[in-house]
Amino acid sequence: MAQKVRVIHYINQFFGQVGGEEKADIAPFSKEGPIGPGMLLRHLLGEKGEVIATIVCGDTYFANNIEKAKKEVLQLLAPHKPDLILAGPAFNAGRYGIACGEVCKLAKEELGIETVTGMYPENPGVELCRREVYIIETGSSARNMTEAMAKMVQLGFKLAFKETIGQPQKEGFLPRGIRRNTISEDFGSERAIRALLAKIKGEPFSNEIKPPLFDQVRPAPPIKDLSHSIIALVTEGGLVPKGNPDHIESARATRYGVYSLEGLDRLDKERFESIHMGYDTTFVNEDPNRLVPVDVMREMEQEGVIGALHPYLYTTTGVATFVENSKKIGRDIAKTLKEAEVSGVILTST
């Protein structure tokens, strides 16, 4: 890049030299060139970059008028056509951290501009934006300004020049919860053996996979009167009309199918088949009712045990499916069932 990287610096009223807490409610404004810590920034950018403007906003103003403040900051940012936004660093200042996080998120989402901010790991702004924004890990106070700013500039240049971003520890940013494959010097087996020996000795050992965050779902209350309830059939067993008209994937499903059960007393093996890749489908293909019990449900409907069978079957394949896709499929089906006043579901899994 022959031209200098055009940088906008976002800071609060204190670092913007407007004043302390008593001036924390000032609305955002923009000024050409660097202010306060921006002088240090200018020095660190050197020949490769330039602070074209500084945007200053009061912390209280931002925190109390988030949506309004975001719009105003966006209006101030856009005309400068910056290549990079550097916000803060906010250290352990909570409202300042939230403002930096929001400004960075906004610039990336709305204008596609690369951004870097800096925060102490316990700053509430971290949780707000760590997934979307590069946050350089800083100490808790402005004493760490030079070091923090230097890392922000270094990472900012890499982003602006579209260079490869290294590991969080190497670049100094807080992990964003995004996992990437890297090449390790050793085989995985060697790392596992070393970790085990360290664990036995009571020394620090590596743990490369963090606990997943599973949702806790509270079960719905029991059905009071089954004989007046609509019951639906949902399966992840991959049962589809022969030929799989909607091309539901045999594994790693991204979608589900909805098929009418209207007028069917049972599922005919001539018309339905399982395309699931994760289990032996021989028996299901011999009698699809053993995966999706339409035959028994119709009998119960006749006998008045249940009010009615919901007229559609919802089906997908549950094998090696990304959790995110499973959630989306589940949410969509649940929403449809709710709208159809279904009060009970038989989920058959394989």
Binding site: Q167, R176, E185, I193, A195, F205
Partner: protein, 403 residues
Amino acid sequence: MIQGQTLFVNLKELREIIAEDPRFSKVEIEIVHPGDNVRVINVLDVIEPRIKVEGGEIFPGWIGGTGIVGMGKTNVLKGVGVVEVGLMKGSQCGILDMKGPGSTLTYYSSLHHIVLITDPKPGIDQAEYSYALKMAGLKAATYLAKASVSIEPDELKVYEIPPLSRSSIKTGLPRIAYLYITECHEPLKEPFIYGDNPRRFFPTIFHPNEFMDGAMVSCLYDYSPGLKNFTYSIMNNPVIEGLYERHGRELIFVGVVVANTHLNLEEKKRSASMAAKLIRFVLGADGVLITKEGGGHPDIDLMECCEQCELLGIKSSLINCEMLSPDGTGNSMVAFSKFANCIISVGNIEEMVDLPPVERVIGGKEMAIGIKGPFDRPMRIPIRLIPNAISHVGFTHVRGEEF
């Protein structure tokens, strides 16, 4: 025939040996080398050529009888692989580049391969074809290794751990066991142990050397290459190698327990508690390294085994892949135990890899997994399609890290 460091293969003779099997309608053999501008598609398994020259059997239940394995002398052709290639409809097959970025991700690209390309005879079902393929691969592996019988090896390695009664001598070193959880169900999803399907298998103690002589071979043809252990990585299991290397210096290697991945929770729990019992009370281990095979529900087996071991006071470390979205977000695993505090990641199986165009493609005109050709073009594929770029026994340098 081997001259110096060069293996000469009589392809005509080898082809005849493989084509003897009436289950094949076509047998072709190709040779590929590291650095060749070649892409091998429809890769189903890789095997290392080995032959028994003294005492015991090799590939028991297939090539050898079901006698004792893991003792005597085994000759190994290092640097050589036998690749099984076939169009197994609907199954999960691999893509092996011998050059370029794809080749940096798997050990198998560093081998000189004898590639067996076969078609089944009409009317031969997939299960039968899978057994024919396995037999062909193992026949080729022993045929090639036979060339080494009369020559001096370049390197001699002794793998020896004393019987348990003698290893219980106090050394002050931690006693380490290895729990290998395989995944065996119906045909096309069956690693074989001594020639048999271990679907109803109870956890059993193995001598680590049994793996080296092919007591277990992979017939997991219907599994993503990133989710299964290839026969090559079972014979060269780096966990076993690593524990052997440290045996007597940093640890005492007390043996291997093999367990299967079961289909319902009760079976999973039973298997885990039986395995933990063997490791604690029979092998007397202080620590255990646990690996699994397969994708989602085997996570439950891995976690149950970890939990049962830890509850008995055995410290554990685990190896697992991550099943995230291609962009690296989501949950790495589908099951988790709070006891699992030491897990090594061998990477996100869904991360995409860009493969450049190649000069030549070997292994057919179409791919079983529905990827459309031509295959000499640049391809963007999930890393799980590269054989053992993701390896549950840690036979890979790929690792998942947080960014």
